[in-house]
């Protein structure tokens, strides 16, 4: 395997994941992109002896030592934090020691066995059992009753169509956004109102952070190593909101996603949200114009990897749209067809245009160099929900592109006598 040197830890992780831990890897200097191909030739000629030697070398046996299931850790706060950091169980913020008692209570709240395997978390492919998820939820500061929401979020993120492998290892600034909707959001005190994306709510912060800790501690998505993000995004600490169902003048997101009676989570592989400020418009046409203009962005993965974007309407913008008869479907159709939701290729560099044509020929193959292309493949590429409080703002969350939102019901847990899923 050839790896640019910055990507060596990821190359090793992928080899291990495929059962070829000892695979020969030859490194070449990073980067290979962003230069003319011929500029790489001397370096490639110099690397070929190492490639030939690697192809002829026999793999060495690699021994791995399984981690113990429990540890004796220091009870002192600062010493515990150092202990956790040494083992790389840290996102940089302080964490709660996942004592056996706290983890047991968190597991009990799920109504499942600690050993129940929810799935394998890439890129390590280590197993996320309910017990391990509960330990991370405790570390993130979740009270026991939030654990079923964390389990549902992990389950959703592990659905193959979510493409977690690519999301956690990419250079792109993406992380799973957890949207909590249905009765569970209110029952457990999630915030879908003022400052929904911001600080100040334990449920939002705890669940968002717990999912990230699972990706890091179980999946071994490690910044600068296997997590190759160029900049990352603040949502990698915690990225969780609730739907503002009471502020939704049309069918709720929960109903549109087919969520169950107790509530559900939807995970969305999103960038940071981008503001849609419209204080001036007094009618639907004005607001749609502003949203469409915000949709059209040269910097977004969605331009060439396509896929979904999430529109989070503030309740006041939603109200103006609904007053003129717009429901979710009409909003989606209007924005898909909107002349402002198009990108002029006159602004796209030749190198990017060539890449776009190969990646999304259905959009770019037959368009002239000075033509325009739509941002959305279809109306349904735009997910629409209502969240936030009073004010004339909405939010647009572009996605990684090669990912699909996934919805999973939150198991009601043992208190309601529901069967284990």
């Amino acid at each position: 395997m050839i790896a640019t040197d910055s990507f060596l830890p990821l190359a090793r992780a992928v080899a291990r994941q495929q059962g070829l831990e000892s695979m020969a890897v030859v490194t070449i200097p990073h980067p290979i992109g962003g230069v003319e191909p011929e500029q790489l030739d001397d370096m490639l000629a110099a690397a070929v002896d190492r490639v030939a030697a690697a192809l002829l070398s026999s793999p060495e046996e690699v021994e791995t030592v399984p981690a113990p299931a429990v540890h004796d850790a220091p009870g002192d706060v600062l010493e515990f934090l150092a202990f956790a950091e040494e083992r790389r169980w840290s996102d940089g913020l302080p964490s709660v020691p996942p004592t056996e008692e706290l983890v047991e209570r968190a597991v009990a709240a799920t109504g499942r066995d600690a050993g129940h395997l929810v799935g394998l978390v890439p890129p390590s492919n280590r197993g996320a059992s309910v017990g391990a998820i509960a330990a991370n939820a405790v570390m993130a500061g979740c009270p026991p009753e939030l654990t079923p929401v964390v389990v549902a979020a992990v389950e959703a993120a592990l659905e193959p169509r979510f493409n977690l492998q690519a999301l956690t290892t990419t250079t792109h600034p993406v992380t799973p956004l957890v949207v909590v909707h249905g009765p569970v959001a209110e029952r457990l005190g999630f915030n879908g109102g003022p400052n929904a994306f911001g600080q100040g709510n334990r449920a939002n912060a705890g669940v968002g952070r717990a999912l990230r800790l699972v990706l890091q501690n179980v999946g071994e998505a490690r910044p600068g190593e296997t997590d190759r993000a160029t900049h990352g995004t603040p949502g990698k600490y915690a990225y969780c909101i609730a739907e503002n169902a009471a502020g939704s003048p049309f069918e709720t997101f929960h109903a549109a996603r087919g969520g169950g009676p107790g509530g559900a989570v939807t995970v969305f592989g999103g960038e940071a949200p981008h503001n849609i400020n419209d204080h001036g418009s007094t009618d639907a046409a004005g607001i749609l114009n502003t949203i469409a203009g915000t949709l059209a962005s040269l910097g977004s993965n969605n331009l060439y990897l396509r896929g979904q974007l999430l529109l989070v309407l503030g309740p006041e913008h939603a109200e103006v749209l609904a007053r003129e008869g717009y429901d979710r479907r009409r909003i989606q159709e209007a924005l898909h067809a909107h002349p402002r939701a198009r990108i002029s290729l006159a602004g796209v560099s030749e190198g990017n245009f060539d890449r776009y044509r190969r990646t999304a020929p259905h959009v770019f193959a037959d368009v002239p160099d000075d033509g325009v292309v739509p941002m959305l493949d279809g109306p349904e590429s735009l997910l629409v929900m209502v969240a936030g409080g009073p004010g004339k703002h909405s939010m647009l969350v572009p996605s990684f592109g090669t990912t699909e939102a996934v919805t999973v019901d939150v198991s009601p847990g043992p208190a309601r006598g529901a069967a284990d899923g």
Binding site: L20, I28, V35, T99, E100, A135
Partner: protein
Amino acid sequence: MVVRIVDPSGSEPPTQRLDTTPRPASLAGARIAVLNNGKPNAEHVVRRLAGHLAERFGTQEPEGAEKPNSSRPFEAEVLDRFRNFDAAVVGVGD
């Protein structure tokens, strides 16, 4: 004071270690697959390296495949084409 804590790193990966075929003693006449990960210049890198291998070590002309989207894995049927090759050159990087 010591507290007993649960390890948050989950269980060992169940991935089965794959057996690799014995390595060839020489690259002369070897069939080499070159797999391009879809990133800019990746095609140039793997092709050029394979060209050098043919020139200097006498491998057969390499055969290749490209991922149309670098964010997705290769399709199994693409990889099946290379099942009986002697070696493959693949890439991770940017």
